[in-house]
């Protein structure tokens, strides 16, 4: 039986009433996890990025954004809002109700807290993001999850339980000389796990692997396993044992954090910590990568700066796979969300002077069978690059090396986690 979400108040007295309510749900949830049957869905957060006001875009308040999305946001305090949404009740009727709460961490990042069933909550958030070109998920790519494991989770106690989930499916992989598949890779569908089982088409590399064990034991084996089998570099979710008490928090690539601890405040603290890490990484990516020119001819100015973002695939793609990927990646609903007309420079090389189809910001790319170079014009959100890397590891090549200029992306991430952790 599917757990039923509790009724959430639209107008609580203050945000602490919501905290107390979620604390109670968290405690029940943890008890349910221990007993093996949850009565209410777990509390979960979604970290969402609001595109900053560069490139002439105006920053909008959560109230403006969610009013336009039909979420009828009600301010509980200046940075905390209840959000309405339509749900189908047990009798099949559709009604409007409070589905969660939105907290503004800062001008650029929001967290949406909800107790809806995971799939429904995920669909709702994806829908909001698809409808708003100035909203995006926070993309915790496999390298970032690995850095968080190395720098943080693996140091939370060898006896505690951890869980790592790896997911990779080479959806563009084509046997040599195969005919083009008509199969589309819609990003809604991609987020559904069931697709892994349901898909038709040629045999391709698919891997889904859960590693649930004591942290000490995972530490001993993980590196060796990853060296042997590259899909084990495609880390999809990571469990953070609670720092305050029992339980944990599961972080997913698309910025979802599910609370398996008994405290909402602990959960919120973890979400805020992850937001700070992510923010720092985005800011360092952008400050290094933005290609910019001063308009002054003053000799002391630096007219051209900005470094390329570079990705190297551990395993080069075949010509057939490369063609399949490029022919799909620029389609309207493809998971890569890229727009542009690839200029073919050969069988395994394209140049694209295009845009990020979701955020609608310019992006120049060179993609080859061996890797990718991205140039981010000033104002193009660093999220674009992190989403690209996330999707490459998930769907194209599970093991990659990535750099921002000459700095390995993992070093940049490690620096962010060291400061904040």
């Amino acid at each position: 039986m599917t757990p039923k979400p509790p009724v959430l108040p639209e107008r609580p007295k203050d945000r602490f009433e919501v905290y107390r309510l979620f604390d109670g749900i968290s405690s029940d949830g943890k008890e349910g996890i221990d007993l093996g049957r949850t009565r209410t869905p777990l509390v979960k957060s979604f970290l969402v990025e609001h595109v900053s006001s560069t490139r002439g875009r105006q920053t909008r308040t959560p109230q403006e954004i969610w009013t336009r999305l039909g979420g009828s946001p009600h301010p509980i305090d200046p940075d905390f809002f209840s959000i309405q949404g339509t749900v189908r009740d047990e009798s099949g009727d559709i009604r409007q109700t409070t589905v969660g709460y939105l907290e503004r961490y800062d001008e650029r990042f929001f967290a949406y807290y909800t107790t809806e069933v995971s799939q429904n909550a995920k669909k709702r958030v994806i829908k909001w993001i698809q409808k708003s070109p100035d909203l995006d998920s926070c993309w915790f790519n496999s390298d970032l999850l690995q850095v968080l494991w190395n720098q943080d989770v693996s140091k939370r106690g060898d006896q505690r339980f951890g869980k790592l989930t790896f997911k990779h499916e080479s959806i563009f992989e084509m046997p040599e000389n195969a005919e083009d598949s008509e199969e589309e890779t819609d990003d809604d569908a991609r987020l559904e796990d069931s697709d892994f089982e349901e898909q038709a088409g040629p045999e391709r590399r698919k891997a889904r692997f859960d590693m649930s064990d004591r942290i000490g034991r995972i530490k001993q084996s993980l590196g060796k396993l990853q060296n042997e089998y590259s899909p084990l570099c495609a880390l999809y979710s990571l469990r953070f044992p609670s720092r305050l008490g029992r339980g944990s928090h599961d972080l997913y690539q698309h910025g979802q954090l599910t609370n398996r601890s008994e405290s909402f405040e602990d959960h919120r603290g973890t979400a805020f910590y992850l937001h700070q890490v992510y923010k720092k990484i985005l800011e360092s990516t952008e400050s290094k990568a933005w290609s910019d020119s001063e308009t002054s001819l003053n000799a002391s100015t630096r007219p051209h700066k900005g470094v390329p973002l570079i990705v190297r695939f551990a395993e080069p793609l075949s010509e057939a796979t490369f063609k399949q990927w490029i022919s799909r990646a620029f389609h309207k609903k493809n998971v890569f969300r890229l727009w542009g007309e690839p200029i073919w420079m050969g069988p395994t090389k394209v140049h694209v002077y295009g845009a990020d189809r979701h955020l609608w910001q310019p992006l120049n790319l060179e993609i080859t069978g061996e890797g990718m170079v991205a140039i981010l014009p000033k104002g193009t959100c660093g999220n674009t690059f992190h989403r690209l890397v996330t999707n490459i590891q998930r769907y194209v090549c599970p093991k990659v090396d990535a750099w921002v200029g000459s700095t390995p992306l993992t070093d940049l991430m490690a620096q962010a986690t060291r400061v904040e952790g």
């Binding site: 910019d292 001819l297 000799a299 120049n364 200029g405």
Partner: protein, 350 residues
């Protein structure tokens, strides 16, 4: 384009040089950033340099033919060391009696003592001609002749040097002469800057400098314009998507600035105008043409500005769907007709 063509194509030469200033990983560079590794960064691209009046006066009296405003293709500098490399890229050498010699004399004077203050706080400037390696010897001889002529006329040329691009196996190489190598603190050995090239894929890196010039190969004549038109197309869509008003105005200048991230400001006025003209002729007019029957009042062109009056959200969506679809927009990469004679400068024939 194969590597031998690449090192003789002026636009790609220049793009290679810009790539050499961009920080990249040692173990997986796109173009080896030798200039960046030496601590040099890009300061100017094709920025005209005004020779001082006294220099021009002496040249006039002595009847020395020089161009009054030389513009180095690239000026890179290392501020802490107080050094600047004044780079002129050529696809081949030229003789002391060719028209290019006027430009050569001007470059030599631009790095001479009379112009030293123009580079402040930089104190040490070297002119370095960059061209295919097999052309370096003749270029060296020509510059020696030009330098001697200037000295004989009582003018003071500055120091000059060479660096050669070459092709070896599956790579493009860079060989600075001893003077350039010492100035940049680089090894004078030939070094790979583009490697792992194969015969099937074009060797060209992603363009960092956008121009609307013809490609030297007649079969790929619109190659550079295709990149510019694609970028302008992207800039226009991004502007429209970020703005949900029912009336939208944009100028060709704004799109060119967006597209080149301001680089256009460093190009000669003539080239700036040609870029704007490309926007008007190949983008704005094509849009007006495509919509004139369906909605005659949708697009208005005035000078180099386009205004779109959507009137309804539905029409706006309709227009954006069309604009997103390259099969429908079919923006041309043909050169717009020239309106004024072009004066020599960046990418001039050698």
């Amino acid at each position: 384009m194969n590597p031998s063509e690449l090192i003789r194509d002026p636009v790609l030469q220049l793009n290679l040089l810009i790539w050499m200033t961009r920080e990249q990983p040692k173990e997986y560079y796109r173009v080896r950033p030798l200039f960046h590794e030496a601590g040099f960064e890009l300061r100017n691209i094709d920025t005209p340099f005004a020779l001082p009046e006294p220099v021009l006066a002496v040249a006039k009296i002595k009847e020395v033919a020089i161009r009054q405003t030389p513009s180095p293709d690239l000026l890179i500098h290392n501020q802490p060391l107080g050094k600047a490399l004044y780079i002129e890229a050529k696809k081949s050498s030229f003789g002391a009696d060719s028209t290019n010699a006027n430009q050569g004399r001007a470059h030599l004077l631009a790095v001479g003592p009379a112009c030293a203050k123009s580079y402040s706080p930089i104190t040490d400037v070297l002119l370095s001609y960059h061209l295919p390696e097999d052309e370096c010897q003749e270029m060296q001889a020509c510059l020696e002749t030009l330098s001697r002529e200037l000295l004989e006329a009582g003018l003071a040329p500055g120091p000059f040097a060479m660096a050669g691009f070459g092709v070896s196996d599956h790579s493009v190489t860079y060989a600075p002469d001893p003077t350039t190598a010492a100035f940049l603190s680089l090894s004078p050995e030939r070094q790979q800057i583009l490697s792992g090239l194969d015969s099937e894929n074009d060797a060209a890196p992603l363009l960092l400098l956008f121009v609307e010039d013809d490609h030297h190969d007649p079969e790929k004549v619109g190659f550079y314009r295709q990149a510019v038109v694609s970028q302008i197309h992207a800039a226009l869509i991004c502007l429209l998507k970020a703005n949900d008003a029912l009336s939208f105005s944009v100028t060709a200048r704004q799109l060119v600035l967006d597209t080149t991230q301001g680089t256009v400001n460093f190009l000669p006025l003539q080239k700036q105008k040609r870029m704007e003209k490309l926007v008007v002729e190949n983008i704005f007019k094509r849009i007006r043409e495509a919509w004139k029957d369906k909605h005659p009042d949708l697009i208005r062109l005035e000078g180099r500005a386009m205004t779109i009056n959507f009137e309804t959200d539905l029409r706006r969506d309709d227009f954006l769907d069309w604009l997103e679809d390259g099969d429908k927009t079919k923006f041309s990469d043909k050169a717009p007709p020239p309106d004024t004679p072009e004066f020599p400068g960046l990418f001039s024939e050698s």
